[in-house]
Symmetry: C2
Subunit: 233 residues, 2 copies
């Protein structure tokens, strides 16, 4: 993250515009977490072994823990967590419908590459919020054990059958594309949230060059994750 | 639970027959917990609202926490948790296949009545094991929040449409019947586990009258749970 956090004075939760942005940010991440819980629990059903199943279930339970922490934070701000999540149900659900995995390996790639991409993006936004909100956001984005497990299983699958790599590389590109589509949809509909990045009436934001750099960072991290799986990005 | 625990001296984990029984007991409960996780996560998908969905997801995550605790206990005994669970995969899966709920309310009744029945049964067995094993078992059987939530939702559904009560009463009886069938299957196949209740070469067990009383207690608790839902047992 290249840009430093704004000064705390500009990040006042008494300011209704800033507060709305924080409620949006916590709401979209919370709905993402319960959706990740749901998807991982579904993927656990297609696990080839009981240890694999329990590993996916463990990740799902961890995501639910993050969800609860975000709901607590929203309640602490006097917001209803479910109202805060409501605007993001349609885009997040659309992402999951369009990236419904057809097998165990696709599900694993989504858990690592898709969740990693979302985590990077929210972490970028978190550098523009107050320290308390940032701490809760970053904690909720912590790897739930996906990385090591998925890398191990996907590499083993490719070693056993190299043809798998081509199919999963396409899958990774599709995840990136669908994530961008839904992120743009959210950005277009949620002005306060978007203004955290792009600036508002009384707050400076990223200029176009900085937004370009942000996307470069996201793309580089995505490529690194794909490479760690042994996949072309 | 009417019968007192046996003296600790007879419950020696160095005794391979007793140890096998404890590994079986922890294994069957552990597989029951991860199955409950799976079923609750599935039920969460059919929840009518996001708060209901998150409530079911919370229960699922709690069951997974119990599962992990039981696996740790098995490892502490030098047992492989997945080997310990293996003999119980078929009967537990059969129970869940035969009691796959066709809607949200049936799922709720299963989460309360089915899990309650299993918890009562394991708690009875737990009174025949050493204190350390018993503590882990009883902790893993703790209500994961099912009771209050399910009673509230099912009673509200019956108030809105009294015809629901007849269908759910039948469902409760089916749960009881399928649970007894699978419990008998386990009892027939797992001698060491069964001997915890019925006694073995060097351990006294329950006589037929006491076994009859045990089933009376299970049935009474089942009836009480059904009544708390507003259902005839």
């Amino acid at each position: 993250m290249a840009e430093p956090p704004r000064s705390a004075s500009a990040l006042d939760l008494e300011d209704p515009v800033y507060r709305a942005a924080v409620v949006d940010l916590l709401g979209v991440i919370a709905y993402g977490e319960i959706s990740a819980f749901d998807r991982l629990a579904q993927d656990a059903r297609s696990a080839p072994t009981l240890p694999d199943k329990s590993e996916l279930a463990r990740m799902a339970a961890a995501e639910f823990g993050h969800f609860e922490r975000l709901c607590d934070q929203l309640r602490g701000l006097g917001a209803d967590p479910y109202q805060a999540m409501a605007p993001f149900v349609a885009p997040v659900d659309a992402f999951h419908v369009r990236t419904a995995s057809s097998d165990w390996l696709e599900g694993l790639v989504t858990a690592y590459v898709g969740d990693g991409l979302a985590a990077d993006f929210y972490a970028e936004i978190a550098s523009f919020v107050d320290a308390d909100t940032r701490a809760v956001v970053l904690e909720s984005l912590r790897d739930a054990g996906q990385s090591a497990f998925v890398v191990d299983r996907v590499r083993a699958a490719i070693a056993a059958d190299p043809r798998v790599a081509g199919r999963l590389a396409l899958w990774g590109r599709r995840l990136m594309g669908e994530a961008l589509i839904q992120a743009q949809r959210v950005a277009a509909e949620r002005d306060e949230l978007t203004a955290l990045l792009t600036g508002g009436v009384d707050r400076p934001g990223l200029d176009l060059v900085s937004i370009g750099r942000l996307f470069t960072r996201l793309t580089e991290n995505h490529t690194r994750r794909m490479e760690s799986l042994g996949l072309a990005a």
